[in-house]
Amino acid sequence: MQRIEIAERDDWKSQAEALGFNFHTLYGAAYWDETACYRFSLKQIEDDIEDPSGEIETMCFDVVARAVDDEEILAKLAIPEAFWDYIRASWQDQDRNLYGRLDLSYDGESPAKLLEYNADTPTSLYESAAFQWVWLEQAMERGIIPPGCDQFNSIHETMVEAFRNFGIAGTLHLASCKGSNEDEGTVRYIEECAAQAGLETSFIYMEDIGIDGAGRLTDLDDMAISTLFKLYPWEWVMKDEFGLTLPKSGAKIIEPPWRTILSNKGLLPLLWEMFEGHPNLLPAYFADDPRAANLSGGYVRKPLLSREGSNIEMVRSDGESLAVDGPYGVEGAIVQALHPLPVFDGNHTVIGSWLVASRPCGMGIREDDSPITKDSSRFLPHVILD
């Protein structure tokens, strides 16, 4: 695993705009960054990222299977009781999951460590699946990188295949909130994958969804919504006014309700409890667990429901701490042993390992100047070249 500085394609911004990738630059700085790329060996990808990702997914299923029948765990995860039966039923009915991103700390040598699982509303999918793929093809064509490079990235193909196998009858509605170009871009991309799988699709903003007299969800044409993909966190759905109508709405939701157990940081202490010592896991405890005090070598405190690095506090073994502000954290927190991100040329690097329909199928890399990655962290492409 190496970070290699390379030339940018001179037309990447105009290409991004033509493809609807309109959030490539953020806060005045490039978010998509192709001034460098990361190089991996095939063995690193297959043995250290792909296989462990599949193993972690299997362990996660064991956690869900246990949690749905354990009210103490559901309460610990701060999931409202009114949704427990709904979550359990979605697991028992084997409601299908679409996609998720495991965030891993990996330096190319020691085992990748799971930092968290974004199993409900992961973004940076389009950049990983499509823009990164186009970059690889063009960078080889233009001699920026040597011919014969590969990439761990069959995300697009796997997404289309997943939609073909989903068994969705009727129109698939897809929703994001108003006011986020990035979320809408991600949803538009997912819509594209569904359309390529032959599904009929319709985009709607979360705010525009209605309900009819029978409690079914409706779109702006007053058509009942039978399947809804939502890029909107489950914990917010559960707090919203219409949240309680969902279990009776008859609509299938993607991601399904049981995914809320995995997108919760409480997953990390549950994994550690069930699979203590697994090479890809870090010691983790609920914050109120006395064993949390025994973590040596520093720790990271994470609210159960934070996203994009918000409200994360990192305490090093020398006691020095670093925190990112944010609006999360009232529901409780976990602590996880500190496993600092590797540093390449002064950049802190995190690996996003993508699973589609539970199959590891691709990777995206984020870099930050700070040891805690956040929503402004840059996205860099990668290559496989032995």
Partner: protein, 183 residues
């Protein structure tokens, strides 16, 4: 190779946001009733009856609804309508056409069919063809037929929205400064 073999994005590009997806035809079986279904090679009476029952339940949900018999008969012909179990919000009767047949997946296709079992109708202006609850033309004959994949899917339901805006307040409560509500 660890990457997708090809990748095209039709919808995402600014110029083609509304391009329709290509449609895969689906093999379906069409019958007037379960007895007729049972005479089809490879179809057994139990499955025929189960699917007909399913179609009858769907009939109540997806049949076009009218608030007067005259309006219903104008579209489906004299004597071709019945009372629907639903009532309007003011309590008056609702009418719908009679179910004239049903469509199910081809049990001989040797794989799971994507076709949704559903009721079929015959309209007054085109009585020789079966139509779905969505008013999509299916076929004029019974037995095995190929239909566009979209038609084989369950018809969508037109309803009345009583309220909107019940989702999204949690996002607004997070305040500004977020470029994404995902992560």
């Amino acid at each position: 190779m660890k990457r997708s073999r090809s990748l095209t994005l039709a919808l995402m590009s600014a110029t083609a946001m509304t391009l329709a997806a290509c449609d895969n035809p689906e093999e379906v079986a069409i019958f007037e009733n379960a007895q007729q279904c049972a005479t089809q090679e490879g179809f057994d009476i139990k499955a025929c009856e189960a699917n007909m029952k399913l179609a009858q339940e769907e009939h109540i949900r997806v049949a076009p609804k009218y608030t007067s018999v005259a309006d219903c008969e104008a579209d489906f012909g004299a004597g071709q309508c019945e009372d629907a179990p639903q009532k309007t919000t003011s309590g008056s009767s609702v009418f719908m056409p009679l179910m004239m047949g049903y469509m199910m997946g081809n049990m001989m296709a040797g794989r799971t069919s994507n076709a949704a079992t559903q009721p079929l109708y015959r309209s007054k202006d085109d009585p020789s063809n079966f139509r779905t609850g969505d008013n999509q033309k299916v076929s004029g004959k019974t037995g095995i037929s190929k239909v566009p994949g979209q038609i084989a899917q369950a018809p969508s339901t037109k309803t009345s929205t009583i309220r909107r805006g019940g989702f999204g307040s949690s996002a607004r409560a997070m305040g500004g400064g977020f470029r994404s509500f995902g992560g």
